[in-house]
């Protein structure tokens, strides 16, 4: 069973031999197919959420550059996403800087902060590193909450005047309007998604990325064999922050501004959960993780909100809704099972194992 990390899921599922094209094509397929699939009436039933899916996929994939490819666990990844979100929101609301200027600045700022923090802490032991990222994330949250100079809006966050002029929105539909052109916001995000994820993919398949994998596998050996482990970690941390900020910048438009939850530890925790659920060992793992997480949450949560109208049957209400209100119990169970199977394999790993067995059986029969 190969657990090597960069190859795409298509190859793993033994579906098609596409060579170097499999990841680009896979990303394109995700971007094109996600919305119709998600908005199918029997799925989540509404297309707008697909945009959020894509944005979170970028963010979780950026985290997986750390966890899956470098073996660094950060408890504060939301901070780097939030720096992107807040940079744009502050630039728009307080300084009237255009979005297309603010966004690259936000990404650079996030990368810069990550570089400095990384220089300080990237070489620390696993748990110490994780706890230090937590501490820095808490500090960022504190600063935003403190509302220095009225810039960050404290606990209310920023909502007013945070949208670029070329975003139009009406009863839930968002469009990008540029010089007479009007395209759905989803396609704008999809384009950024494909380009951003391709860059990330190139990063992990490059010689640089391969060295990161070696660091993940055996840090001491890598160092003994001539790899400057600390510098690779610092730069992995920096790149991960830049991609997280890319997601954060998109989130600013998607969520109409910035709120403290974009910097919170809970968000960092959710990012970890999504990465683990999907499978940290796979490039497409985080994407699957986002899908499963958002889907499970909405799907299970629906059971209790929907059964509630039938208040006239109180007994039955307890029977059904009463249990499903606590859907996170089942999420916890899923987690325990996933970890017991393998903490780095996730849903994709499970899927692969099952499909592998199936195909082996089929092949066995045909022989």
């Amino acid at each position: 069973m190969s657990r090597d990390a960069t190859a795409g899921v298509l190859e793993r599922l033994g579906a098609v031999e596409l060579g170097v094209w499999q990841v680009p094509l896979g990303l394109l397929a995700v971007a094109v197919l996600l919305r119709p699939v998600v908005s199918h009436d029997l799925m989540l039933g509404y297309p707008q959420v697909a945009t959020s899916f894509l944005i979170w996929m970028i963010i979780v994939a950026s985290f997986n550059l750390l966890m899956g490819y470098t073996g660094l666990i950060s408890f504060g990844h939301a901070m780097f996403m939030g720096i992107g979100t807040y940079s744009v929101a502050i630039a728009l609301s307080s300084f009237a800087v255009p979005f297309l200027v603010a966004a690259p600045l936000g990404i650079l700022l996030s990368a810069g902060v990550a570089y400095l923090v990384g220089r300080l802490i990237a070489h620390k032991g696993e748990i110490y590193f994780a706890m230090l990222t937590l501490a820095f994330a808490k500090s960022a949250h504190f600063v935003a909450n403190y509302n220095p100079g009225g810039l960050t809006g404290g606990t209310t966050g920023l909502a007013d005047g945070t949208m670029p002029a070329w975003i139009e929105t009406s009863r839930g539909f968002t469009y990008v309007a540029l010089g007479g052109f009007r395209i759905d916001w989803y396609w704008a995000v999809a384009a950024v998604f494909v380009v951003g994820m391709l860059l990330l993919w190139q990063l992990v398949r490059s010689p640089f990325g391969r060295t990161l994998v070696a660091v993940r596998e055996n840090e001491a050996l890598a160092r003994a064999m001539g790899v400057d482990v600390r510098r690779y970690k610092v730069w992995a941390f920096t790149f991960a922050a830049a991609f997280a900020a890319l997601g954060g910048v998109l989130l600013e438009i998607n969520n109409q501004g910035a709120t403290l939850s974009e910097l919170s530890i809970v968000t960092s925790g959710n990012i970890i959960i999504m990465a683990v659920l999907g499978g940290a060992n796979y490039f497409f793992g985080p994407l699957a993780g986002v899908f499963v997480w958002m889907f499970v949450e909405e799907y299970l949560a629906d059971f209790h909100t929907l059964v509630l109208p039938l208040t006239e049957v109180p007994l039955a209400r307890i029977e059904l809704a009463g249990v499903l209100v606590y859907w996170q119990f089942f999420l916890g169970l899923l987690f325990v099972v996933a970890v017991l199977v393998s903490p780095r394999e996730g849903i994709l790993g499970l899927l692969k194992t099952v499909l592998g067995r199936l195909s082996a059986r089929i092949r066995g029969e045909s022989e």
């Binding site: 696993e126 119990f329 970890v339 017991l340």
Partner: protein, 340 residues
């Protein structure tokens, strides 16, 4: 030679820097003491009491992390269960506090053993992340189960009459229940110390941690000892829960609230060092209580109002952690090579 001299120099610089830091801290504390002497004493004692509460919660976590290598994220959930079991025993079944103080931790210990046998024992040889994630899943399950059984609304139990008032310590007054918590915490710390350092059982566990295979050869039944250590860690969390539940009350999120700060304590103290956890707990307790006072006094003295940052107390533990880990990468008393 060049190596040795540069190393000594480095150490010199470090200790000089350390002296400067300690000097500055002492000076700041003196300023605060001079500006508000009465309040300073109150906050100092308050910080001590709060610190001991943290120690009590951190101790079990530290045992499980230091001896078994499991990052038990569910420790907060065990702590919470201690509080809810107290509610069940006292408020619903009408048993006295003293019964709850004994029975609730034992019940929590059983839950801990269940956790260890069903899930965590399979993860001893995995990287720390695996244990952390599994424990996180367990924490979610316990929390949701708690919501289902006892509801979302925060609950409390009546403080027993003897502990309900405040105790006059001449320089300050402290709630008796908090003082009682400190005494219990101190006893637990002492008990754990004696168990680990002074008994054959503790010796064999420590040996097993150093070299599990070797201990196996020597015929020490490690799995059973690990279960016992886990039980012990869970019981201590339960004791913390009983005391916190009685003093403050309980809600399904209390575990989450405490688990992170408790990790901070363990990490600041140095993973693998129980003594470090105790020192770190007290250090952070004092820092949380004294930092706002110091800043306020400083603002008074200098006339720079901006120094008195509101709500800084919540951030203090993390700042302490950043400072400590930057100066001492393994925390205050961490062992070399442990969890690195």
């Amino acid at each position: 030679m060049s190596t040795s001299s540069s190393r000594t120099l480095g150490l010199d610089r470090l200790s000089a820097g350390g002296a400067a830091v300690w000097g500055a801290i002492a000076l700041l504390l003196l300023v605060a003491l001079a500006v508000e002497p009465g309040l300073f004493v109150d906050q100092f004692v308050g910080g001590l009491v709060y610190g001991m509460t943290l120690v009590l919660i951190a101790l079990g976590l530290s045992i499980i992390l230091g001896l078994l290598g499991i990052v038990n994220f569910a420790h907060g959930a065990l702590f919470m269960l201690g509080a809810y079991f107290t509610y069940q025993l006292m408020a619903l079944w009408g048993l006295p506090f003293w019964v709850a103080l004994v029975v609730a931790p034992l019940l929590v210990g059983l839950v801990g053993v269940l956790m260890e046998r069903l899930v965590l024992q399979w993860l001893y040889d995995e990287p720390p992340l695996a244990g952390l994630l599994a424990a996180f899943g367990i924490a979610l399950m316990i929390q949701e189960a708690t919501r289902a059984i006892w509801g979302d609304t925060p609950l409390s139990v009546a403080t027993p009459a003897v502990l309900a008032q405040s105790a006059d310590l001449a320089v300050t007054t402290v709630a008796r229940i908090r003082l009682f918590s400190v005494v219990v915490a101190a006893l637990v710390v002492l008990g754990v110390y004696l168990l680990i350092e002074r008994t054959d059982f503790g010796l064999s566990v420590r040996a097993g941690v150093q070299d599990r295979e070797m201990a196996g050869f020597l015929g020490i039944d490690m799995p059973r000892r690990f279960v016992l250590m886990f039980f012990l860690g869970a019981v201590i969390a339960g004791i913390g829960g009983v005391l916190q539940g009685t003093a403050v009350g309980m809600s399904p999120t209390m575990g989450q609230q405490y688990i992170i700060i408790t990790f901070v304590v363990v990490v600041v103290g140095g993973i693998g060092s129980l003594f470090g956890s105790v020192v770190a707990g007290l250090l952070i307790g004092e820092a949380v209580f004294l930092t706002p006072l110091v800043l306020r006094s400083l603002a008074d003295v200098t006339g720079v109002g901006a120094l008195a940052v509101p709500g800084i107390g919540g951030l203090v533990p993390y700042l302490v952690m950043i400072l400590v880990l930057l100066v001492r990468p393994r925390g205050l008393y961490g062992q070399e090579g442990f969890m690195e």
